[in-house]
Amino acid sequence: MTRDWARPVDRAREDVRAARTLLESGYPSQAVSLAYSAGLQIAVAALAVLDERPSTDAGVVSAFGRRVVGDGGVDHEFGRTLRMLYEDRNDVENALLKAPKDEARKAIDGAERLVEAGARWLEEQRR
């Protein structure tokens, strides 16, 4: 089986860059959605390495916390970040919240750290 790790990592990094572009263009709520997408991409890629394929976003978030953060040795901060991004994305997409700029920036920064931590973890699995 070919393990194509590069593409989800690239896509996650692209989502982070796109989120920053949206924020700079005056769309903080939409930027939060893309920041979550970046985190989700990396979590799905990490779980796929462990042959775990949840069928829903919530399933990805909880499985990431259990398999990659808990058993896999990734810092707890990143599981917490992914849960927060999931919640924030739901709240802005359901029009329950409008994201202020500073919150969107924090979300993107958190997503970027998560993506880079995930990329390092994936690289370690490859060795």
Binding site: V61, G65, D91
Partner: protein, 259 residues
């Protein structure tokens, strides 16, 4: 008057679930005995003898127990199989057969069902004035609703909600008006991966994002501890009543309020 502990509650629970046409169950209020009698052989003079007829509860009650149990099963494959098993005619038989492949869940089911059916038996005695009310309360208290959160493979979303609500009460004090369980777990159609979605009703909110961040530590801790995703959205009662968004409108219709 009898104490429920003098009654064989397991037999009474069995009688309440027995829909057989061959016999009928009777309860002796003097001794607490629960016995089946075949009408053809003994006639129908038991009422005259002071015995109380035990009519079975509707089959829907037992079905609801299975539904509640299946909703808490986390393993996706087991959840799917059990969900299919309880659909359509022959649900009880298929459900029991399906559990044979999952010994841990089977044990959890019996524990869950035993407590529920014994609680129903105590309530049956209480409603008919056959037992001392204080003793019945104590008997119910000693058989709390099953907490399957402690059983591997099961998630007790309502129990988790209660515990999160307790922690939020400590965080917010009087500002916390209530917590509402919404979404799939409130509707009763949860998938094993469904998040536990909460609305946190606060007296006043000046900065909603700040409140979200205040709750984050608690919500994350319960997510990890129960291998699920818990989400919490702070709202005011006025916002909830105003049904400002479709999500809030649905919440008012289907949410379960936890004081």
């Amino acid at each position: 008057m009898l104490d429920p502990e003098q009654v064989d509650l397991a037999d009474l629970a069995l009688a309440l679930e027995d829909h057989s046409r061959d016999h009928k169950w009777w309860f002796d209020p003097d001794t607490g005995a629960v016995e089946p009698r075949f009408e053809a052989r003994f006639g129908d003079d038991h009422s005259a003898a002071g015995l109380v007829s035990i009519e079975p509860v509707p089959t829907g009650v037992g079905y609801a127990d299975m539904e509640d149990f299946v909703a808490r099963v986390r393993d996706p494959r087991a959840h799917h199989l059990l969900e299919r098993a309880i659909t359509g005619r022959g649900a009880f038989r298929r459900f029991k057969d399906a559990l044979l492949d999952y010994p841990e869940l089977r044990r959890a089911w019996f524990a869950f069902h035993d407590v529920r059916s014994e609680r129903r038996a105590i309530e049956w005695l209480l409603e008919r004035g056959l037992v001392d009310p204080d003793a019945a309360d104590a008997a119910l208290e000693s058989r709390p609703e099953p907490a399957p959160g402690e059983v591997p493979g099961l998630l007790d979303a309502h129990g988790v909600t209660h515990r999160v609500a307790g922690e939020l009460r400590r965080l917010y004090g009087q500002r916390l008006q209530s917590v509402m369980l919404v979404g799939a777990w409130a509707r009763g159609d949860a998938h094993p991966e469904s998040p536990i979605e909460l609305l946190v009703i606060l007296e006043r909110i000046s900065d909603r994002w700040q409140e979200k961040r205040r709750m984050d530590r608690i919500v994350w801790r319960y997510s990890v501890r129960h291998d699920t995703v818990v989400t919490a959205l702070p709202v005011t009662e006025a916002e909830l009543e105003g049904r400002a968004t479709p999500v809030l409108a649905r919440a008012t219709a289907e949410g379960i309020l936890i004081k």
